[in-house]
């Protein structure tokens, strides 16, 4: 006897076995970036005229550091999801497509980690 309804067949699944996760995370990261983007751009507009010591002091502030890390995380994930869709739509050669998708995954993770490490090095430096 089957106790589960057929709902389990559709809940969170589909032909890609991924449900709406890609769509949803694209929206969640964009929602996070709605306040973070103007904050970063206006901060950088003021930072552009700062010298090294002032820029260091800005990143070292706990609020800046945690907002920068949040921005990096949301941005790297948002970029990965966005580039993935573009490749899936326009690259039709299966091998090239998969290789490019793997490359996008690796590079967005690499650049995200490098940025986060840079922020942590500045923020945690004694």
């Amino acid at each position: 006897m089957k106790y589960r309804t057929d709902l389990y067949l559709v809940r969170g699944l589909g032909s890609a076995k991924d449900g709406t996760r890609h769509w949803w995370m694209q929206r969640m990261t964009s929602l996070a970036l709605v306040p973070l983007t103007p904050w970063l751009v206006f901060s950088l507009a003021r930072i552009a005229s700062m010298d090294y010591e002032q820029a260091i002091a800005w990143v070292r502030s706990p609020l800046t550091a945690v907002l920068l890390l949040s921005t990096i995380l949301a941005l790297a994930y948002h970029a990965k999801l966005g580039l993935q869709v573009v490749i899936e739509d326009y690259v039709h050669h299966e091998g090239v497509k998969i290789a490019t998708l793997i490359g996008i995954n690796f590079l967005t993770l690499l650049f995200g980690l490098a940025s986060a490490l840079a922020v942590l090095r500045v923020a945690l430096a004694g």
Binding site: P38, A48, S49, A79, G82, V86, V122
Partner: protein, 131 residues
């Protein structure tokens, strides 16, 4: 099964460009461009962590005239993607789909992107960044 001679929908070039379709593909194009632009942010953070000499070299590249032009274009692309992204989030909430509203929000998106770019650059220049 004959799948070769079926009628297919016309190719994209057949259609006259409209504000809605141009903004749609521009959202995608600006998104890809901004992924390249984000590398500048990565580089800036890494030079900041690397020390004063690397930071000064990065500041010199960004402060040069070609650097300023590129950063200006990235600012415009970022604000366009930002405003049009909010437009998309409103659509995701199920609102603003009728034709008049779609055109009005499209025009507002372009105007807001230009305005925000100019305000940002005014702040930058007034805070001494243009020197």
């Amino acid at each position: 099964m004959n799948t070769q001679n079926r009628p297919i929908s016309p190719h994209l070039q057949i259609y006259r460009p409209q504000l809605t379709s141009v903004l749609s593909i521009s959202h995608r194009a600006s998104g890809v461009a901004l992924c390249v632009g984000a590398l500048a942010l990565v580089a800036w953070l890494i030079t900041l962590a690397a020390g004063p000499d690397a930071y000064a070299r990065a500041a010199a590249v960004i402060g040069s005239w070609p650097g300023k032009v590129i950063v200006f274009l990235f600012t415009l692309a970022l604000y366009f993607h930002f405003c049009n992204g909010i437009r998309h989030l409103v659509w995701d909430a199920g609102r603003g789909f009728d034709l008049a509203t779609a055109y009005a929000s499209g025009k507002a998106t372009v105007a807001a992107a230009v305005l925000l770019t100019l305000v940002t650059w005014a702040i930058w220049l007034f805070s001494g960044g243009g020197a």
